[in-house]
């Protein structure tokens, strides 16, 4: 086929084509990984500042004023600054960390290798997609430094607040415009990435690599790419309409008779609910875009270190496909309190409960994989186990929130904050940590330090539970979310000590991430040389040198003979069968 003949692979010469504007999927994967790593530390810093302010609202911090002269006059953070930190924390984490690292980072690096391809189907598009993401990140960061600072409306950018200009708050002027432009660029980049992932997976598998022989990571990236393809297309439309409201003066999301600062605005006919529908049609699949690659990775890692085949491979695949499908029909459960017919709410609620079924199938299959196995405890395995733990803890509170009656009470409280941070935030982050420790030897040819890794795991695992479990309790006693501080709330009196505990846990958890950074960069330079297959795993990436050569397989034409998880097969000399082993 013509498309195959086009993959002429000679390594580029020159620093810029090799490391900056590279079309090699491995370099692009590493670029995405470090982009996300940078973003996650910006997001983490913002969250620590927010937690600090919540507990010490009157504290004078010198560098707040240096960074944000108008947002923190005299070093005391204003509520507006708090809201802009919250908005940027959410946006950066959701888009530039949870969406880029598992898919753009690990997916780019390992999807082609795991299916036996030399590169992605469209290497140029791949490069374009990374650099568009990069520009989007620069535009997003620029929002901090423009007149008025970063926007205030949260990562969901609810209208009418987001559709108004500066009149709605300091960051809602230029900052909000930059936010929308950045998100629109990000949509474009994700669409390009999605087209590339799906085409690669369908067209470039080597002979013998049937769909049901793909590692579950590939299935996860595949379903994620489909969700990106459909979800970001709708967000793009919503973003265009929002930008028109702000720049051209249309009224898509602005109803008549809106009074802001004692002025009646000259808009008519628009609907703020329309924004919510369009946003959450993207927004709900987005949470699966964040978590699905983690599910694939956890499945993969649990199987490798249990030395057992994954329990119910096909069930895992069908569960991911049904989670992907159901993800598109439940967006209304984010809008129970936005004014919705109770009948519609029941329909959305039933669909939401239905997602519990494939999620439970996955959880039981993970446990089934571990059952009776001889577990090899490595850092990668610990993080995969941590992923399962957080997925269950965060998922169960999702069942609570999926019921309109309970959601009416809980929706605007810390219960929701605890829920989505556990399942979408730290569970997905644990997936990335697991991926880092699992694949680092392949990506960089060196092993990471296991001792530092395990210390980092236990500290982080305890830390995140200490931060997010109390949030559920606070939510139940009625602690509202999105508030800069709780000085005015008398009923919160005693609960403030819980907030203090959470802030200290957050400071602790953020601090121990330094162990990870030290481990990562120390291992890059000084780690022990990695063998080709340090974990005795079976998929294709472990049959080639660490790090892989430019065209991945050294020009060899592979044929795949086995499924991805053949461990402890009776009658074999070693306890695993590589996918490329002839028999």
């Amino acid at each position: 086929m013509a498309s195959h003949a086009m993959h002429v692979h000679t390594p580029p010469s020159g620093f810029i084509r090799k490391y900056i504007f590279s079309m090699d999927h491995k370099v692009i994967g590493i670029q995405y990984y470090f982009l996300a790593l940078f973003s996650v530390f910006v997001g983490l810093l913002l969250s620590v500042l927010m937690r600090y302010h919540m507990v010490y609202p009157d504290a004078k911090v010198g560098f707040f004023e240096t960074l944000w002269p108008t947002g923190a006059p005299g070093g005391v953070m204003t509520p507006e600054l708090y809201l802009s930190l919250m908005t940027m924390h959410g946006t950066i984490m959701v888009f530039f960390v949870l969406t880029t690292a598992p898919q753009g980072g690990f997916g780019n690096y390992f999807l082609p290798i795991q299916i036996g391809a030399e590169d992605m189907a469209f290497p140029f598009l791949n490069m374009l997609s990374f650099w568009t993401t990069f520009v989007a990140l620069v535009v997003m960061m620029a929002a901090f430094f423009v007149q008025g600072g970063a926007p205030l409306g949260g990562w969901t950018a609810y209208a009418p607040l987001s559709a108004l200009g500066e009149i709605a708050g300091p960051g809602q002027g230029t900052g909000m415009n930059l936010w929308i432009i950045s998100i629109a660029l990000f949509c474009g980049a994700s669409l390009m990435g999605a087209i590339n992932f799906i085409s690669t997976l369908i067209d470039l598998r080597v002979p013998g690599m049937t769909l049901m022989r793909m590692p579950l990571t590939c299935w996860a990236w595949f379903v994620t790419a489909i969700l990106s393809l459909l979800g970001f297309a709708v967000l793009l439309s919503a973003g265009i309409l929002l930008l028109m409201d702000r720049v051209v003066g249309t009224s898509f999301f602005l109803p008549a008779g809106l009074v802001v600062n004692d002025q009646i605005l000259n808009h008519k006919g628009g609907s703020p609910l329309l924004w919510q529908h369009l946003f959450w049609f993207f927004g709900h699949p987005e949470v699966y875009i964040a978590i699905l690659p983690g599910m694939g990775l956890a499945s993969n890692i649990l199987s490798v270190f249990s030395r057992k085949t994954i329990f119910g491979y096909r069930a895992m695949v069908y569960a991911m496909l049904s989670i992907g499908f159901l993800g598109f029909v439940v967006w209304g459960h984010h809008m129970f309190i936005s004014g919705m017919s109770p009948y519609t709410a029941i329909a959305f609620s039933i669909m939401t409960m239905a997602i519990g079924v494939p999620s439970a199938i996955k959880t039981f299959n993970w446990i089934g994989t571990l059952w009776g196995s001889q577990i090899r405890i490595t850092t990668a395995m610990l993080f995969a186990l941590g992923f399962v733990s957080l997925f269950v803890s965060g998922g169960i509170s999702g069942i609570f929130l999926g019921q309109p009656g309970l959601d009416l009470y809980l929706h605007d409280t810390y219960f929701v904050v605890g829920h989505f941070h556990m399942i979408m935030g730290v569970a997905a982050i644990f997936g990335m940590f697991a991926g880092t420790f699992f694949w680092f030897p392949k990506m960089f040819g060196r092993m990471m330090n296991e001792t530092l890794g395990q210390i980092h795991f236990y500290a982080t695992f305890l830390g995140v539970y200490a931060i997010f479990t109390p949030m559920h309790v606070l939510g139940i006693i009625g602690n509202p979310r999105r508030y800069a501080d709780f000085k005015e709330f008398e009923f919160m009196g005693q609960a403030m000590s819980v907030h203090t505990f959470m802030t200290h846990s957050a400071l602790f958890t953020a601090a121990v991430q330094i162990i990870f950074v030290i481990n990562l960069f120390w291992s890059l330079k000084k780690g022990a040389k990695a063998p080709d297959n340090p974990w005795e795993a079976t998929s294709l990436e472990w049959s080639i040198p660490s790090p892989p050569p430019f065209d991945n397989f050294g020009g060899k034409h592979l044929t795949v003979h086995h499924g991805p998880y053949e461990f402890s097969v009776p009658g074999k000399a070693k306890d695993y069968v590589m996918q490329v082993d002839p028999e």
Binding site: A194, S199, P207, S237, T250, K268, V560
Partner: protein, 211 residues
């Protein structure tokens, strides 16, 4: 079991390298783009429907003459461009590069003609009927907003399509590009036409003045 056997043979067929449909990556990628882009347009049309349904006094100002006659001519021009695009793909399938370039140029001419007609329609609405994206004589600002938003995004697609076909035509003339490249550009072009077939009734025909 029958279903087992069926999935078994399908798995054997789809054993790697290409799909059961045997299409190249470029064509497959374009289909994926079309799926994605159709969702972008769907979102706009759903927004339009949502806003229109919730406004009791939505205006229907277009007269049969000249608005509907004019937009029907635009539709015909765009439909003709699809026909010439089919001819271009057909010529390329016979290796006739000269013919392909001619038919592509004809398609571009129709496409450019559509954009010119559409722009004059816009200018007429803005200057003579006083309809803009944020105000109009009927005091329903969203009429203009949805009209210009939807037709504007479509016109952007046609304009990009004309440029895209220009690149393809230049390449084909110089002996570059294969049949697949022309066919893929045809997919995009027909898709843009198809979108208009939804826009035309929803935005024009449903806005005809009733007596």
């Amino acid at each position: 079991m029958a279903t087992e056997a069926k999935t078994g043979s399908l798995a054997a067929l789809w054993g790697g390298g290409g799909s059961p449909y045997r299409i190249g990556s470029k064509k497959f990628g374009m289909w994926l783009f079309i799926i994605s882009d159709s969702l972008t347009f769907t979102a706009l049309l759903v927004a339009y429907t949502y806003l229109r349904m919730s406004t009791e006094t939505w205006p229907t100002p277009f007269h049969f003459s000249p608005s509907i006659i004019f937009s029907t001519v635009m539709t015909l021009v765009l439909l003709s461009s699809s026909l010439t695009m089919v001819m271009a793909v057909h010529a390329m399938s016979h290796g006739n590069r000269g013919g392909t370039v001619k038919w592509l140029l004809a398609t571009m001419a129709f496409g450019a003609g559509f954009v010119v007609l559409h722009m004059s329609e816009w200018m007429h609405l803005i200057n003579d009927e006083k309809v803009t994206a944020f105000s109009n004589p009927w005091n329903e600002p969203l009429f203009g907003a949805t009209f210009f938003g939807i037709t504007g995004l479509h016109m952007t697609h046609v304009t990009i399509g004309v440029i895209y076909l220009g690149v393809i035509a230049t390449g084909v003339g110089r002996g570059k590009f294969t049949y697949e490249d022309v066919e893929v550009s045809g997919l995009y072009w027909h898709f843009v036409d198809l979108v208009w077939m939804f826009v035309f009734p929803l935005v024009y025909l449903m806005s005809v003045k009733m007596h």
